[in-house]
């Protein structure tokens, strides 16, 4: 970094203004073209095609003809109890993974930040779940959650609790896969919060100490407001991760038993690549997006009302 600063910095005459684009009018477009083409081709276009495809019956085969079916796919989604379950489970999964991930992530970040000894070691240990291969870890969690001989039930036995059929009981299967989601999610949110905490200037802490603001009051009045951008970012990332949960579900429960852990992505996968119907999953995706937009709008309204 210092190498570029070797030359004296000229006057600040032009400071605050973006670089004059006149000289190279085409340059910005050349710079963004590769990236935008990738996004356009592999995110925007597929999403668009998916939306269009939701009005067709599409066989999986290459070059096969699409057949216009109007709103049939949507009707089929709305009348399919499994699709309902998938939507419910996805939303439930989001709630039981996102909230704990954010709360625990923040707590652990504050805790790790406040340590005076062994901070690096603790941080590293807490970051590791994020690096793990979720398929590999799901296999391990499957053993941990085994009904007989699994570690989770052995641990429960020590405290005198009857064994739980984590993976094959409809009441627990979603919780089990969500626990894995939280295990990993906390690690990511904690990292984001730690990174966010480091951006708070030391002067703020000093000022707070001088004013005698500590503990909960300091967190609520100082830290949290300053971390708002980080919190928003962590929330968005958590939501994205949770809606797209697939790996551990596919390995641990395959959506079962009795569809109790079927989510939109596992259901999409099943309908598309086991039932070989590609129109219906597209419709389902857009029902999900519509639900998300609704939640987003409600949240936004609640948020702005609060600010006013």
């Amino acid at each position: 970094m210092t190498t570029v600063l070797d030359k004296p910095v000229p006057s600040l005459a032009a400071a605050g203004k973006p670089i004059d684009p006149n000289r190279t009018r085409a340059t910005p477009y050349v710079f963004i073209a590769p990236a935008m083409s990738g996004i356009g081709l592999f995110v925007l276009l597929p999403a668009l095609l998916s939306f269009i495809g939701s009005f067709f019956a599409i066989p999986l085969a290459t070059g096969a003809n699409w057949k216009w079916v109007g709103f049939d796919n949507y009707t089929s989604v709305f009348s399919d109890p499994t699709a309902h379950r998938a939507i419910e489970n996805t939303l439930l999964y989001c709630v039981i993974t996102i909230i704990p991930s954010l709360v625990l992530g923040l707590l652990l970040a504050l805790l790790a930040e406040s340590l005076r000894h062994g901070r690096t070691l603790v941080r590293t240990a807490l970051f590791l779940p994020m690096t793990a291969n979720l398929v590999a870890m799901a296999v391990v969690f499957k053993w941990i959650f085994a009904l007989q001989g699994g570690f989770a039930n052995q641990a429960l036995a020590w405290i005198g609790v009857a064994p739980i059929n984590w993976l094959n009981d409809t009441r627990y299967s979603l919780i089990s896969v969500a626990l894995v989601g939280v295990w990993r999610g906390v690690s990511l949110t904690m990292l984001l919060f730690l990174a966010g905490l480091t951006t708070i200037p030391g002067a703020i802490h000093e000022a707070a100490a001088a004013e005698g603001i500590r503990g909960w009051a300091k967190l609520r009045t100082l830290i949290l407001p300053m971390m708002k951008p980080t919190i928003v970012f962590a929330t968005v990332l958590s939501i994205l991760t949770s809606i797209q949960a697939f790996d551990q579900i596919n390995v641990m429960t395959q959506g079962g038993p009795q569809e109790s852990s079927e989510t939109i992505l596992t259901f999409t996968w099943k309908v598309g690549f086991s039932y070989f119907q590609l129109g219906k999953p597209s419709a389902l995706s857009f029902v999900l997006i519509a639900v998300l937009i609704c939640i987003g709008l409600v949240r936004r309204r609640a948020f702005s009302a609060e600010q006013r």
Partner: protein, 276 residues
């Protein structure tokens, strides 16, 4: 900060220990299962420690599942994606952060919107499209859909916003063109976020399961997570120990990478915020 009273510190450390324990336990369990003899399996009431160490499980995991080939595939695919993403995203992020041009608002809006489109909505058409161009079951088909990244543009732009404009003006006064400004001023100053994004990209694509599961049909194209399935079959006598050893082999490279790069990663992620 004033010294906390002893019980508070004790509670704090207790909480830390529990958190670290929960975080590390699955890794330990994986290693334990990988090193335990095959006879000490799920049903036999396992102890916390392996009965004795058996490294033969690793040999089986490596040989039976052709793990070397899978790791190589993982390396090639992850590396290619990373390289392409850096080439495409760094200039784009720079432009979105520092140059105002016609349509920049709308185009960045597109990037943000793409950030929020879930895989479900894009997976099927991308798969059909890749096949239409004959790229199914090829390395190109595994890499191509990820050559750009909305998340990358977004993350890198956030940090580039903080580069002083004066510096860029200075570069211009010195006669540096936009390309050289990018390479000589912007890139060095954005190193923390570039590193963070690079690590994030490597994590994501090394561990990716869904897309290779669809596209990589031939066994010699299989990526490390796909290879894990080999030991999951009941019919071949479910070799739990080899499965765990395989899991450890898949996990290790990323874990080691992370241990080396974690400081940069944390610094870089600090830029990742959505203003407002």
């Amino acid at each position: 900060m004033t010294t906390s009273p002893i019980p508070a510190r004790l509670i704090k450390w207790l909480l830390v220990l529990i958190a670290v324990g929960v975080s590390l336990f699955p890794f330990y369990w994986m290693l334990r299962t990988a090193l335990a003899p095959q006879s000490q399996q799920l049903a036999d009431g396992l102890g916390f420690w392996p009965a004795h160490l058996d490294f033969g499980n690793f040999a089986r995991a490596w040989n039976k599942a052709n793990r070397g080939q899978a790791l190589l595939n993982g390396l090639i695919i992850t590396g290619a994606i990373l390289l392409l993403q850096l080439i495409t995203c760094v200039p784009a992020a720079y432009v979105f952060a520092k140059i105002r041009f016609k349509g920049s608002g709308i185009l960045f809006g597109v990037v943000l919107a793409c950030l929020l489109i879930p895989t479900q909505a894009t997976m099927v058409p991308t798969f059909i499209g890749i096949n239409l161009f004959g790229l199914g079951d090829t390395r190109i088909g595994l890499v191509l859909p990820f050559y750009s990244s909305a998340f990358g543009i977004f993350l890198l732009r956030q940090q580039m916003l903080s580069i002083p404009d004066a510096l860029l003006d200075a570069a211009k006064t010195d006669g540096l063109g936009p390309w050289r400004t990018l390479l000589r001023v912007v890139v060095p100053m954005s190193m923390p976020s570039i590193a963070a994004f690079a690590i994030f990209s490597v994590f994501t694509h090394w561990n990716d399961y869904l897309w290779p599961l669809l596209v990589a049909r031939s066994p010699d194209l299989a990526t490390p997570p796909l290879r894990l399935a080999v030991f999951q079959q009941a019919d071949i006598g479910f070799d739990y120990s080899a499965l765990a050893a395989g899991a450890a082999i898949v996990t290790a490279p990323i874990l080691i990478l992370f241990l080396f790069a974690q400081r940069r990663f944390v610094q870089g992620m600090a830029g990742g915020e959505i203003a407002g």
